[in-house]
């Protein structure tokens, strides 16, 4: 019981800290891109270059997913001819890239963000609206 209590306590203390939301950048149309502006709340937590690098990589990955290339065209035609039943056995290109993105975010969290008390949430869990960065307080862990 005491363990659960302190875990909840930590959670509560950690959650109280802050959340930063990186909004979408629509300057190029409706493609999924996020703003690379460095939020002021993260100034003490992480290096600006690293943050921008993360966001830029994510933007590139989303651009790759939504690219109007020959691959997506062939996939679309094949799907149309097979009455879209091909998707029962095959993953779409977009889904493949989303998996890549999920892996990238996890890797970034493990290597860069978690040691600094930050957590990136995959935008797909927020409907591709925002990148949510949770800032955890350090003091709860030191007690």
């Amino acid at each position: 019981m005491a363990e659960t209590h302190s875990l909840q306590d930590m959670r509560q203390q950690a959650a109280v800290a802050a959340k930063v939301f990186i909004q979408r950048d629509y300057s190029n149309g409706t493609m999924c891109q996020f703003q690379t502006k460095f939020p002021s709340e993260l100034e003490t937590k992480i290096d600006k270059q690293q943050f921008e690098e993360t966001i830029r990589t994510l933007n590139n990955l989303y651009a790759e997913a939504e690219k109007l290339g020959s691959q997506s065209f062939i996939e679309g035609c094949l799907a149309c001819l097979t009455a879209y039943t091909v998707f029962l056995c095959m993953e779409t290109h977009y889904e493949k890239v989303l998996k890549k993105i999920a892996k990238y975010i996890q890797e970034q969290n493990d290597k860069i963000y978690a040691p600094r008390g930050l957590l990136l949430t995959d935008p797909i869990e927020r409907g591709l609206r925002v990148i949510e960065i949770t800032i955890y307080e350090d003091r709860s862990f030191s007690r």
């Binding site: 629509y26 065209f73 879209y84 797909i124 609206r129």
Partner: protein, 468 residues
């Protein structure tokens, strides 16, 4: 009135249920629930969340029926004659077209059109905070528009009061389905669903193939009757021999005008990368001047526009219908919910029982997430002007019917669309680790607790009047 559709709260259940919620045995009995069961929009789900449909889908069976009946009559009555006198290709072509039409129709109807999930409480708080720092007073409702530059053109983003977020460009809120849909084209009652980013290509292939099918059947029936009237003595006898052909003729004749017209219109939209919504509103049709307000999304090349709309990559569904609601949300949500109940009780008793259902619903549409604001009267005015192009009058019966249906089922089903951010704002902040849509979180607590909590938060006057 509406009160009879709600079940009366048992005051003892309020005190008993928090304890039972913490009972681990009861927690284990609860089966894991999927997210579609707690979906806040007005949609129906089939096959355990795999298929999605709008709630008002009465016309879809009619569409299907018309297509199936006409094609059935064609194969049964016209094809034998035509095979005998012309070629066997006719039923083959007819069969292929028919299958394509039905597949496209079902695909359009049951695919998620591109619904945007509602903003979480934290996101809403963040937006409010940004607006408050830039604005002056704290009780002013969030500004309804935000201007951004897309391809060097100014585009206004509107704030959706139901989904609590600034709508991305080309997104619109469908009042029938109560969802924001990306690249919203229109809500098609024939298909029983919205047409948006994810199912526009299926809709387009449906109407194109249906045009071909109706034209094909029409031509074949005309040929049939002509040949038959030559063989027998005149057209009247031909019709008497094959009465079904007249039925098909009539149906096809009337459908062809509308379907061909619709196909032509949508071909134009596809070629210019427009949506029906934008075309009807005249968003890019040069109101101010010919050069300035062009469509910022067009690629200025018909083929590229067509490829982008019809053959582009298929984005995934953002609403994650089949994911599971986290079960460990039940305990913290229940624990904090029980703390929410006493504060609500006196406030609601004092203020709500004298107000009409409509006022409460209106207020709930606009109360911010800080909690039920009995005094939030200034907020009702934006509702009249802005929200989802649905008048409050129409919002009320549909909401009440939706709410009563959900409550009457006595299950921990999706709460009413208006409920979540209002009643559980405090518990949301504590659960922000998981930070999923508060609507989903409501589904987790034990049935009795959430049931009474739902009634409390949803229609306080409705819930409390029986007690008085």
């Amino acid at each position: 009135m509406k009160n009879c559709e709600y079940q009366q709260i048992d005051p003892r259940a309020l005190s008993v249920s928090p304890l039972s919620a913490q009972n681990p045995a009861e927690k284990k009995v609860q089966r894991p629930r999927r997210k579609w069961e707690a979906f806040p929009g007005k949609n129906r789900f089939f096959c355990d969340g795999r298929l999605i449909l709008a709630r008002q889908n009465g016309i879809l069976p009619l569409t299907l029926g018309l297509i199936v009946v006409t094609s059935g009559l064609f194969f049964a009555f016209d094809c034998p004659f035509l095979v005998e006198h012309l070629t066997v290709c006719i039923p083959v072509i007819g069969g292929v077209l028919f299958l394509f039409v039905v597949a496209s129709l079902l695909r359009t109807s049951f695919t998620d059109p591109g619904i945007l999930p509602r903003a979480t409480a934290d996101e809403t708080a963040d937006i409010e905070r940004q607006i408050d720092t830039s604005g002056s007073s704290t009780y002013r409702p969030p500004p309804r528009t935000k201007e951004i530059l897309i391809n060097q053109q100014v585009v206004k983003l509107k704030y959706c009061f139901t989904c609590k977020m600034f709508r991305p460009p080309r997104t619109s809120h469908c009042s029938l389905c109560d969802n924001c849909v990306e690249r919203f084209d229109h809500h098609c009652p024939w298909v029983g669903n919205c047409v948006g980013k994810r199912n526009y290509r299926y809709f387009y292939s449906f109407i194109i193939s249906l045009s071909f099918l109706t034209s094909f059947i029409f031509a074949c029936v005309i040929t049939h009757i002509t040949l038959r009237s030559q063989a027998s003595k005149g057209i009247v006898q031909a019709i008497q021999e094959s009465p079904a052909s007249v039925v098909e003729l009539v149906i096809c004749f009337f459908s062809i005008w509308s379907i061909l017209g619709l196909s032509g219109f949508h071909t134009f939209l596809v070629a210019s990368n427009l949506t029906t919504n934008e075309d009807i509103k005249g968003s890019w049709s040069g109101k101010r001047g010919a050069e300035e307000s062009g469509n910022p999304y067009t690629y200025s090349n018909i083929i590229t526009n067509c490829c982008a709309t019809l053959c582009g990559p298929m984005p995934p569904s953002l609403i994650d219908r089949r994911g599971f609601l986290p079960p460990d949300e039940a305990i913290p949500a229940a624990a904090t919910s029980e703390m929410e109940l006493p504060p609500f009780t006196p406030k609601s008793d004092a203020n709500m029982c004298t107000q009409s259902t409509k006022d409460v619903l209106e207020r709930m549409l606009h109360s911010d997430f800080h909690g039920l604001c009995p005094s939030g009267n200034p907020k009702t005015s934006p509702l009249v002007q802005e929200v989802s192009s649905s008048a409050p009058a129409t919002a009320e019966p549909s909401l009440s019917s939706g709410c009563s249906r959900q409550l009457a089922r006595q299950a921990v089903v999706g709460p009413c669309p208006l409920l979540p951010p209002v009643a559980f704002s405090k518990s949301d902040r504590r659960d922000s680790l998981h930070s999923i849509n508060p609507a989903f979180r409501l589904a987790s607590p034990s049935p009795t607790l959430s049931h009474s909590a739902l009634v409390l938060g949803d229609g306080p006057d409705i819930g409390f009047i029986p007690q008085h």
